[in-house]
């Protein structure tokens, strides 16, 4: 099925009343989650996975994807009104969004953010539909050697590009790989590193790790937030629309941001935060008024918002076409795919065309729903910001506990989530990125299997990875990304540092 026919077929699947309803629920929940500072898309999706038990996988995945892009869409609201990004990717929106809101232009800034997200999201989904099919066709020729190279490349880039330190990124990745080795080895039947616990024989539950690492750990951040002082919310006044002059400045930034964002999403490991940061730097560099950036330039909101939303679509390219997640949240969605018994990857387009095309088409519909949710209803939805953080953190912990228990009906998972919550707290305090751990955990099993299969085929000759041109190319790219990371990180630290300092100053 080519992309045009696939999209039309997908629209027919996504436009059924049940799928429309669950796409709406997903986007609505995603928007609400994005309004809760601290709870990002990864934790939000993981918390909601138990709700999808018993659902048709297509419906469930449409809802979970809706939560993801809904979250990225709405992250700007808290960034603009509260000076706090709703998710990490909205950190650059704070730089100009909050100053604009303080100047009494909150309504027009929110409108620009919503329109930027809509345009970039629609462009991103279109690009996803047309890039994923040829990529999946190419990946059909991949054997274990090439898959090893691909996963090694993905893990290297995520280690090199997330966080401030290469050592910490690698540490997080290897910790994820270590966790992936826990349980019974399927080839030999030997239980490995289970500490004699029956519950660990069937491997460490990925979703328990996600809820612990993200949701439970973020509760600790909220605890510290409630103790540190109050948040100052800018009220939305006036009509939610923008002037012609603002639009003239915003639209080229939206197009550039969408391009940068999709490229970053399609490169595994770069993620929404880097996409937003690169698009912001680009806008500032080419602007005729660079001095306005940081004080209230509308391009400083339009470009990062477009980039984060296009990045979401780019992240799905890898997941659907190669079976390798492009971001932390798509890693959680990949966990959901596996839980429903579906292996994402190149075969998905042939084995589950309804699911994959329905999912892509539902993103078009979800984008339209988000525009409605984020324009006329933004004032209503922003009321969630007025819920006391002390109440919110208790509710999040309550939902996380019930959700984790429902995975296996086992209190062992609750304690495991608590342990990972403490680990997540330590990660935050020590500035260790969490996404590489997720990548390592979810891809570790496939990486090991590909490695062992390739070595079996070559009778134990490790040069097999250099004899395959694709694998050799991917391994060389991995080496380059690791080598280059130290230089790039210093520049990134400086740019992100400005945003974080602004948030800290309030």
């Amino acid at each position: 099925m080519d992309s045009w026919h696939g999209l039309l077929h997908g629209l027919a699947v996504a436009a059924t009343p049940t799928h429309l309803l669950y796409t709406l629920i997903g986007t609505f929940i995603g928007t609400m989650i994005s309004h809760l500072p601290g709870i990002g898309p990864s934790a939000g999706i993981a918390l909601l996975i138990p709700v999808t038990f018993g659902m048709d996988p297509t419906t469930a995945l449409m809802m979970l994807a809706g939560i993801y892009y809904g979250c990225m869409y709405g992250g700007a609201v808290t960034a603009i009104l509260l000076n706090t990004p709703g998710d990490a990717a909205a950190v650059m929106t704070v730089l100009d969004g909050y100053p604009l809101a303080r100047q009494g232009r909150a309504a027009s800034t929110l409108a620009i953010a919503a329109i930027s997200s809509f345009i970039a999201g629609t462009m991103g989904v279109t690009a996803l539909a047309f890039v994923a099919v040829p990529l999946a066709a190419l990946a059909l020729h991949f054997g274990p050697t090439e898959y090893f190279g691909l996963i090694f490349f993905a893990l290297s880039t995520v280690s090199a590009l997330t966080g401030d330190s290469l050592a910490k990124g690698l540490m997080s990745t290897f910790l994820g790989l270590l966790l992936a080795t826990v349980g019974i080895d399927l080839q030999s039947g030997v239980p490995r590193f289970t500490l004699g616990l029956m519950e660990l024989q069937d491997r460490v539950n990925f979703l328990v790790v996600v809820v612990g690492l993200f949701a439970v750990a973020e509760v600790s951040r909220m605890v510290e937030g409630t103790m540190e002082g109050t948040l100052h919310i800018v009220r939305v006044k006036g009509r939610l629309w923008f002037s012609r002059a603002e639009w003239r400045r915003a639209w080229p930034a939206i197009l550039r941001g969408a391009g940068v964002g999709f490229f970053c999403g399609a490169a595994p490991g770069l993620g929404g935060t880097i996409a937003a940061m690169l698009s912001y730097i680009l806008e500032k560099k080419i602007s005729r008024h660079p001095e306005q950036f940081g004080k209230g330039a509308i391009e400083g909101v339009a470009a990062p918002e477009a980039a984060t939303n296009a990045d979401t679509c780019g992240a799905f390219v890898h997941l659907l076409a190669l079976g390798v997640p492009g971001s932390g949240a798509t890693a959680v969605i990949m966990g959901a795919f596996i839980m429903y018994g579906i292996q994402p990857g190149p075969m998905l387009f042939n084995s589950h065309p309804d699911l994959v095309w329905g999912l892509i088409a539902s993103m078009y519909i979800g984008n339209m729903m988000l525009l409605v949710l984020n324009l006329p209803l933004v004032g209503v939805l922003a009321r969630i910001l007025y819920v006391p953080p002390g109440v919110l953190l208790c509710i999040i912990l309550g939902i996380a506990s019930a959700g984790v228990y429902s995975f296996n009906y086992n209190t062992f998972d609750l304690f495991l989530a608590l342990v990972f919550g403490l680990l997540g707290y330590a990660f935050r305090k020590l500035d260790i990125p969490k996404a590489p751990l997720l990548f390592g955990l979810i891809l570790g099993h496939t990486l090991e299997q590909s490695f062992r299969q390739a070595m079996t085929i070559s009778s134990g000759d490790p040069t097999v990875f250099l004899r395959s041109p694709i694998a050799a190319f991917l391994l060389a790219c991995a080496a380059v990304s690791l080598g280059m990371s130290a230089v790039a990180k210093r520049r990134r630290r400086a740019t992100l540092g400005i945003a974080q300092e602004r948030i800290a100053r309030g």
């Binding site: 138990p50 290469l166 270590l178 030999s188 090991e448």
Partner: protein, 160 residues
């Protein structure tokens, strides 16, 4: 300075943990049926990678110590917030007690008590609102999971 000390401790913990992991890996039986590598080689590579990342972190710390930025930052006195740490520890302990009682007391008893306890600290002085939130949240989640989703939550001694 404290941050660098914490990072040094992290590097040491990672290297030590990886050494333990490699020791546990060496104790695995060397089964190689139809597989030239067996179950031990991949974990050995992972353990080796962890040790390398720990050593790399030590190099990064050494580099940071020599940088002028660090010298400027080191002059600023960091104050320890023991109260915050104490509250977080108490919260973890309270959550662990809740999980211990989860099966035994049942969701409908353990959850409102747990939530009311937390809310009494984090939303002080609003006893009625806290009781309503704790009870209401428990009832809604229980109904959602057991009635709508068919996911059984423990009932404890209650004849639900």
């Amino acid at each position: 300075m404290r941050a660098l000390r914490a990072e040094t401790a992290l590097a040491a913990c990672v290297i030590l943990g990886a050494a333990l992991y490699l020791w546990a890996d060496s104790m695995l039986p060397p089964t190689r049926i139809g597989d030239p590598l067996g179950p031990k080689v991949f974990p050995a590579l992972v353990g080796g990678g962890l040790i390398l990342s720990g050593i790399l972190l030590l190099f990064e710390i050494r580099k940071k110590r020599r940088s002028p930025e660090f010298a400027a930052a080191a002059t600023q006195q960091a104050s320890a917030d023991w109260r915050r740490q104490l509250i977080l520890c108490a919260m973890v302990a309270w959550t662990a007690i809740y999980y211990l009682c989860f099966d035994w007391a049942g969701y409908l008893i353990a959850t409102p008590v747990f939530l009311f306890g937390l809310l009494s600290h984090f939303h002080r002085g609003h006893h009625v609102a806290n009781a309503v939130v704790a009870g209401g949240f428990t009832a809604v989640v229980y109904a959602l999971f057991t009635l709508l989703l068919g996911v059984p939550l423990p009932t404890g001694p209650l004849p639900v």
